[in-house]
């Protein structure tokens, strides 16, 4: 088979853009990330059928939010390295769009999983925690590489779980930078999580995940 027979030409620039988007999402294993997010939502839904004490009810969504954040952050790893970076203007937009879309999908999936059940903190808590954790994951990817993007969200999860524990066994950790330990309507915690998310998005859009060839 020759190359000419291998596929149909794109009809126009819009179709070319869609094709680029599809290829980019495939190369970043976004379908696998969406499957992981869906799995987290299903686990949350099933878990909410059980009765939990207050501590467990706060921990459980946080663990699954971290799972979603890790799934999003690892999609920033590029398999192509420097030749991809030495191209035109589309790459930063593709990175930004991918991270934003996956974050929205994760917030939506976890919020839907909590409908009709007692989800501690509600949708607002999910939005704040997930955005902040994703920001941490994106920053970790930008500085350590996509393959290590799980490390910082996981470390933050340990700190946040300890902060939740201190609410029952003081002295309580109450800094807004540990936003999962603050109430859902806490403005300072929301600002901190939002700042981390925006910084992470900017870092990953502008410079991408660090890869071996960048070292």
């Amino acid at each position: 088979m020759t190359v000419v027979a291998a596929g149909k030409p794109p009809a126009g620039s819009a179709r070319g853009g869609l094709r680029l988007l599809r290829l980019h999402l495939s190369s970043r294993r976004v379908p696998a990330a969406l499957a992981a997010i869906a799995a987290c939502a299903v686990v949350l839904r099933i878990a909410l059928l059980w009765q939990w004490d207050a501590y467990g009810a706060l921990q459980l969504p946080l663990i699954l939010e971290t799972g979603c954040a890790v799934a999003i952050a690892v999609t920033t790893a590029s398999p192509f390295g420097e030749p991809e970076r030495a191209t035109g203007r589309w790459l930063p937009l593709l990175r930004l769009g991918t991270a934003l879309t996956l974050t929205a999908a994760a917030v939506g999936a976890l919020a839907v999983a909590g409908i009709g059940a007692h989800l501690a903190g509600g949708g607002l808590d999910v939005l704040r925690n997930l955005a902040g954790l994703t920001g941490i994951g994106l920053l970790c990817a930008a500085f350590l590489g996509g393959a290590l993007a799980w490390a910082a969200p996981t470390a933050y999860l340990v700190i946040a779980i300890y902060a939740l524990y201190t609410q029952w066994h003081g002295p309580a950790l109450t800094t807004p930078w540990i936003w999962p330990a603050r109430p859902p309507h806490d403005l300072g915690a929301a600002v901190c999580a939002g700042l981390v998310f925006i910084t992470g998005l900017a870092a990953i859009a502008l410079r991408g995940a660090r890869d071996a060839a960048n070292k």
Partner: protein, 248 residues
Amino acid sequence: MNVATTDLTRRFGRNVAVAGVTLDAGPGVFGLLGPNGAGKTSLLRMLATVIPPSSGRIRLLGRDPGVYGQRRQIRRRLGYVPQNLGFYPGFTVVEFVEYFALLKELPAAEVHRAVAVAVERVGLGDKATAKLRTLSGGMLRRVGIAQAIVNEPELLLLDEPTAGLDPAQRVAFRALLRDLGQQATVIVSTHLVEDVGAACTQVALMDQGKIVFHGTPDELVARGAGTTAAGDAPLERGYSAVLAEAGS
């Protein structure tokens, strides 16, 4: 000149990888020779606009890569194959090359033809729909070259492009280099002096971050004539003689 560098320097911490390189290159195939750690890859990465210089000046295709808008224009007309090119194993050959064509902002109507031409030029027409995970190392190397030439670049940078190619593929690749060099500036970093002799019109030899020789392959051969420099071929003796002089 498509490439003009003046006193170009790149440091990584305390290590000076490229030390004050001044170089001009127009259309043709330009060979960059040198031992491991000479600074060839760092120089190519700066020319590929993926790392900035620590100091010095670069003009590529008449533009300044330090300025965002001009860097974007350079990148649309640039092809780059690094030493270790990454692949997404789930892509087919066509998808991989097409992805780079679209990233390099080729008009959508031209992408299909450009991809077909690039894949045929590297001799992978019969593997166009094969997944990358099924290809050999030499074929993957050729796929990497296809992505670099898909936009018919005016500046093509190749870092050890013949590594992993068998002798027949290397002969075909040299012919491709000569063909590309008719229009574009092709800079090839290599350890293999026979590639330089067969394909390059100009050659530079780097050692410890500096250009220690710049001339034609024949001039490099002349540097080794009548010496006891190591090497089985005249070019190798020239290479060894220049390095010995630089080290003394």
